[in-house]
Symmetry: D3
Subunit: 244 residues, 6 copies
C-alpha cells in the first residue's frame, strides 16, 4: 500500500491520459495515491475531427465538449485533480509563464513518479514536445534557486506511456502494469470519449495484447501470472533498489 503517495500525468491533449495510462491512474488511486492530471491543451484543433464535421462548430464549443469529456473520464478513473492549461494544440507551445505554472504543479504535487509521451513521434510533434517539457520542468523543479523557499523536487521516475504506433515512435516498454482490477473504470473512461468512438475497441485490444506480454514476461507457460488487461511503460531513469 502506498497511502500518501502522489503521481503526475502530463498529457499533451485532453484525451491522451485516458487511452494511454487510464489504468495506471485508476489503479494507483485505488492504492491510495493522489493522481494529478495536467492537460496542456484540449486537442481542440487536431484531435476533434468528429466535432468539427458538425455544422457551425466553433473553437470554444469544441474546447467545452473536450473538457466535459475529459472531466467525465477523470471522474471514471477517480482522478484526484485535473487541470486544463489551455495552451493550444497543433502546435502545442508553452511560453515561460506557462512552463512556470507547470513547475508549480510539479512542486505542489511532489510526484512519486511522472507520466508523459514518447520521446519521438513523427506523426504528432505535440507529443514529443510534451515529453521535452516534462524533462525541462522536472529539472527546473529540482533547482534550489527557482522560487527559493518552495519544496524542491526529488528525482521522480518519468514513465513514457504507450503511443499510437509504438515501433514508429521508437518506444520500447520496460514495465508492464496489470490493470485488470480497474479495467472497468478504464473502459468507462474510454467510453466518455464520444468523439473518438473508433478508438474504443482499438485501445481495448491494446490492453489485451499487453496482458499477454505481462503473462509472458512473468513466467509464460511455466508460472506466468494470468492477466486480462495491462498497460506498458518505458522508464527514462535508472531504478535504485535493494533487491534485484
Amino acid at each position: 500500500m502506498s497511502a500518501g503517495n502522489t503521481a503526475l500525468v502530463i498529457s499533451a491533449h485532453s484525451a491522451d491520459f485516458v487511452w494511454r495510462c487510464g489504468g495506471a491512474i485508476a489503479l494507483h488511486q485505488q492504492m491510495g495515491y493522489a493522481v494529478t492530471v495536467v492537460c496542456l491543451s484540449y486537442g481542440e484543433r487536431g484531435e476533434s475531427a468528429k466535432l468539427w464535421k458538425q455544422e457551425g462548430m466553433t473553437l470554444e464549443r469544441v474546447k467545452d465538449a473536450r473538457r466535459a469529456e475529459a472531466e467525465a473520464a477523470a471522474r471514471a478513473l477517480d482522478v484526484h485533480d485535473i487541470q486544463f492549461f489551455d495552451c493550444g494544440d497543433y502546435p502545442l507551445d508553452l511560453d515561460r509563464a506557462q512552463k512556470d505554472r507547470l513547475v508549480d504543479v510539479i512542486r505542489t504535487v511532489q510526484p512519486s513518479f511522472m507520466l508523459s509521451h514518447s520521446q519521438y513521434d513523427p506523426y504528432n510533434t505535440d507529443h514529443m514536445y510534451a515529453t521535452k517539457l516534462a524533462l525541462e520542468t522536472r529539472m527546473i523543479a529540482q533547482a534550489w534557486g527557482h522560487n527559493p523557499g518552495q519544496q524542491v523536487l526529488g528525482a521522480p521516475q518519468l514513465y513514457l506511456f504507450e503511443p499510437h504506433q509504438t515501433e514508429q515512435m521508437g518506444w520500447k516498454p520496460n514495465t508492464f502494469l496489470d490493470i485488470t482490477p480497474v479495467w472497468d473504470k478504464k473502459r468507462a473512461a474510454i467510453e466518455c470519449m464520444e468523439g473518438q468512438e473508433h478508438l474504443w475497441e482499438f485501445y481495448t485490444r491494446v490492453a489485451q495484447q499487453r496482458a499477454n506480454h505481462f503473462k509472458r514476461n512473468s513466467g509464460g507457460q511455466s508460472g506466468g501470472r494470468d492477466c486480462k488487461y495491462a498497460e506498458g511503460f518505458q522508464s527514462i531513469f535508472p531504478r535504485t533498489v535493494d533487491e534485484l
Copy 2:
C-alpha cells in the same frame, strides 16, 4: 526477505563474477537467496598475465591458481555453489554437451534472476559469447520438449553486469543496487584476486561512482538516499508489476 529464492551467475572467466556482481551475490545470499555461479572458463589464457610471466608456468598450474582464487572469492561472498565448466578461453566456445550441462544447471537452480555480461564487447569476444549463451540456454531451459519430465524454466530476468569500459560496450545500466551492507565482503573477495591487484582500486572506485549515481537517482540533493557502494545492471526483459 526472499528466503528460498535463487539466482544464477554466468561468468565467462573465473574472476568476472567478483568484479562485476560480487556485491549482488553477497547481498542476495544475506537476504536468503542461494546464488550459484558458473565459471565457463578459468580465464587461464587471456586473463592471467601475471601468472604467465612467472618462469616455467603451465596451463594446468594457471588453472589451479585461478580456481583457488575463485573459490576463495566465492567463500568471501558466501556463494551457495560455484561450478567450473573449464570450457577454455580466448576464445570461449561451448559444444552441445556443454550447453546442455548449462541448461541442466539452469533448470536445477530455477533462478529468480540471472546475471551475465554485456551484449557487445569489441575488446573481449568471450564476454559477448557468454551473454549469447545465456539467452540461448535460457530459451532451451524453457522448452517443454527438452528433457521432458524436468521442471521447465519460467521467465527469469537477465541482468547484464558492468563491463570494463561501459560506453564502448553500449552497456546502459537501468538498475542500481546498494551494496553498502556487504561491501566488506566484496572487497575481501576482490583481494582474493592476487593476480590482478592492479584492478582492486579500479573496481573499488567503480562501486563508489555507482553509489553517487544511486544517490542521484533516488532523489539527489532533495531526499536522495545515502549510499557508499553500489553496482549497476542493465536488464534485458520488461518487468511485470502491480505498482509503478
Copy 3:
C-alpha cells in the same frame, strides 16, 4: 496481377508462417504467386507445450502432430509448396549440407521476395538464427561459383514478419499489407494450430491493430482507406522505383 511470380517463407518453427505472414501468403497465392514455405524445424521441443503435457508423449509424436497442423494450415492458405527440413529446435542449428539444401530451394523457387523473422529476439534465439540464415543463404544463392550452371539468384527483398513482442525485438514495420480479402483463410489456418489455441485471439487482434495502422498511414481521417485486417513487415533492402 503478378502471375508467374514466386515467394519464399523461411520459418524457424512450423507454426511461425501462419501467425506472422499467413495473410501475405494467401493474398499472393490469390494474385497468382506460387509461395513456398520452408519450416526449418517443427518447433517440437520449444513450441509444443500443450502436447508435452500429455501422458506418454514422444518426440516423434510431437513432430507428427506439428507437421499435420502445419500441412493443414498450408492448405488453408493455398500454399504452393511446404517443405519440412526437420533440423531440430531450441536450439535450431543447420550444418553445411542443410544450408546447401536451403540454397537449392532458393534457387529453384527464384523468389520475387523472401520472408523471415526479426533480426533480434532475446526470447527466442532460433528466430534470429533463421534470419541470419536467410541472409547467408541468399548470398550463397547469388554466387556464380556455387553449383555453376544453376540459375543464379537476383536480389529479392527480404521482409521481416512480425515477432511476438515487437518493441523488445527492435522490429519496426515499414510496410503494411491489407489482408482483408483473405482474412477468412488466415483465420482458418490459425485454427489449425490446435496446440496453441491461446494465441488465436491474440493474432486476430494483431491483424486488427495493423489494420488501424494501415488506415492511418493511407490517409487517416482524411481519405484513409478502410481495412479490417492487415500484416506488417520490415524490409531490409532499399527499393528501386520509377515513381515515389
Copy 4:
C-alpha cells in the same frame, strides 16, 4: 501515369532542391505531377561564399542572385511552382505566421508526397530545422480545427533527400529512383548554380553512385536493371500496399 498528382519540396536554402531531388522533380513533372518547391531561405548568408567574396556585395544583391539561379534551375526542371519564403538563413527560424503560410501551401498543394532534408545534420542545423518544420506543418495541415473549411491533409509520405555527408547525418536511403530519363534536365539545373560550380561534378558523381546501387538492388549481376543516374531517399512513414 499519375496525371493530377502533386508533390511538395521543402528546401531550407534555395539551391538544396536542385542537388538533392532535382531528378525526382523533373521525373514526376514528366509523369504529370505538379511539383511545388518552397525555398524557406535563399541561403544568402551561409551558402553564397563565392558571391560574398566579390567587392561591395550586399545582402539584397546576394538574395537577388540566388533567387535568379533558383528560378532558372526550376525552369530547367519544369517545376510547376516555386515560392520563396525569405525567412533568413544561418540560422533559419520561422515565426508562427510563416509556419501558417507553409501550412497553407501544403493544404493548397495536397501533395501525394513531400520531400525535405535529413533529420540530423551537425554541420548545418538549418537542414534539420527544415525537416522538423515539415513534420510539424504536416501535422497542423491534418488538423480539422486549423482553419476549418479548408481541405484537410491526408497522410502523404515524407521522403528525406540526400544530405552532403550521408553517414555523418545518420541518413539511410530505403528508396532509389531511376532519374536517367531526366538526367539532362537535372544537369542543366545544376549548371544554373553558378556560385557553386565546385559542386557540379560532386553531385553528378552522387547520381552515378546511386545508379550503381539501383542496379545492385534491382538484381545485381543477375537481372539488375541498368541505370545511369539515380537519387536516393529515406522515407519516414510506413507504406500501405496490396502486394509486397
Copy 5:
C-alpha cells in the same frame, strides 16, 4: 608544440568547464594554446544548492559567489580568457543577440577545436541545449554573409566532454587525453568549487578511471603507457589525416 593555437569551451553553467575539461584546458595552455571559456550562465538557480540553503541568500549573491569560484578555477587552470554571458539557467535560453555574441567570440578566437556538453541529457536539458547552441553558432560563424568582413570560421572539431552519468546520456568517448602533467592544476581548480565539495572526490575518481582506460587503449598489459589521470572526449566530426 602548438604555440599560437586556440581553443574554446562552451560551458552551460560556470562550473562545468572545471569538472569536465579542466585538464584539457590546463594541458593545452601549457602547450601554448590560448583557451577561452564561455560560461553561458552561473548555474545560479540549478547548481548552487549549498548556497541557497544559507539564510537570506539572493540571486545576485549566488551569482557573485559562483563567478568568484569560476574565476579562481580559471586562474588555477591558466585559462587565457573567461567570459560570463549571464543568460540564466534552469532553463538556459539564449535570444538572437546572445547567440550573435557567441558567434563573435567564436570568430575572434578562431578555435582549433571546441568543447561542449553531451548531445543528450534527460537530467539536465541545459546541457543539451548548450551543445545544440555550439553546433548552431559554429555554423553561423562559418557563414560568409554573417557580418561580412569578419574572418570566417574554418571547421574546428567539436569535442563533447564527459557528462555526469555517461551511459544515460548516450555519450561514448573516442578520445582519451593524458592529463597527468597538469593534474595538480585541475585538482586545485576543483577545490575552488567550495559549494560542491561532494563532487571533488567523484571527479578525481573519474580521472583515475579514465587513466585506466588510457592505459588499456594504448596497449594494456603489453606496452600500454602508464597514465595516472585522464579525460575522455567524444568527437562529432571526422578527422582528416595523413597517417592512420
Copy 6:
C-alpha cells in the same frame, strides 16, 4: 615518418583490400610501414561472376586467376607481404586451426593498426564474419597464455574500411585519409582487377567524393586543404592522445 611500423589488412575476399584500402596501403608503405595483407579467401565463388561466365571454368582456375590479380595489385601497391588463406567463400568460415594461423600472423606482424570490413552487411555475410574474426583473433593474440613465449599483442586500432553501400551497412567514417600522393598506384592496382572492370570507375568516384569530405572537414571554404583522392575509415577503439 614511421619507419619500422607495420599494419595488417584482413580481407574477406582477395580483391577487397584493393577497392577499400589500397590507398592506405600504398601511402603507409611509402612512409616506411611494412603492410601485410591476409586474403581469407579468393572470392572464388561469390565475386568472380565474369570468370564463371566463361566456358569450362573450374574452381581451381578461378582461384588461380583471382590470386594472380591480387598479387599484381599487391605489387602495384608495394604491399610488403600478401598471404592467401584459401578458406573458401560464400560462406567464409574458419576452423580453429585457421584462426590460430591468423593469430600467428597478427603476432608476427605486431601491427600498429589493423584494417577490416564493416561490422554489419546484410548483402554479404562474409564481410561481417571477417570483422568478427578480426576482433576475436586480436583478442587471442593479446592472451599471455596463448602460445606462451611468443610476443603478446598490444592494442592496435581496428579501422573498418568502406563497404559498398555505406548507409545500408551502418558504417560511419570518422577518419579521412588523403591518398592523393599514391592515387596512381591505387588506380593501377584497381586496373589489375580485370574481372570487375565495372567497378573501376565506381571506386575512382568513391575516392573523389571522400576527397570532397576531406576538404570539408579540414576547413571547407575557409582553409580546407585541397585533396583529390581520399579514403574513409571507421575506428572501433578510442584514441589515446596528448593533444586534442
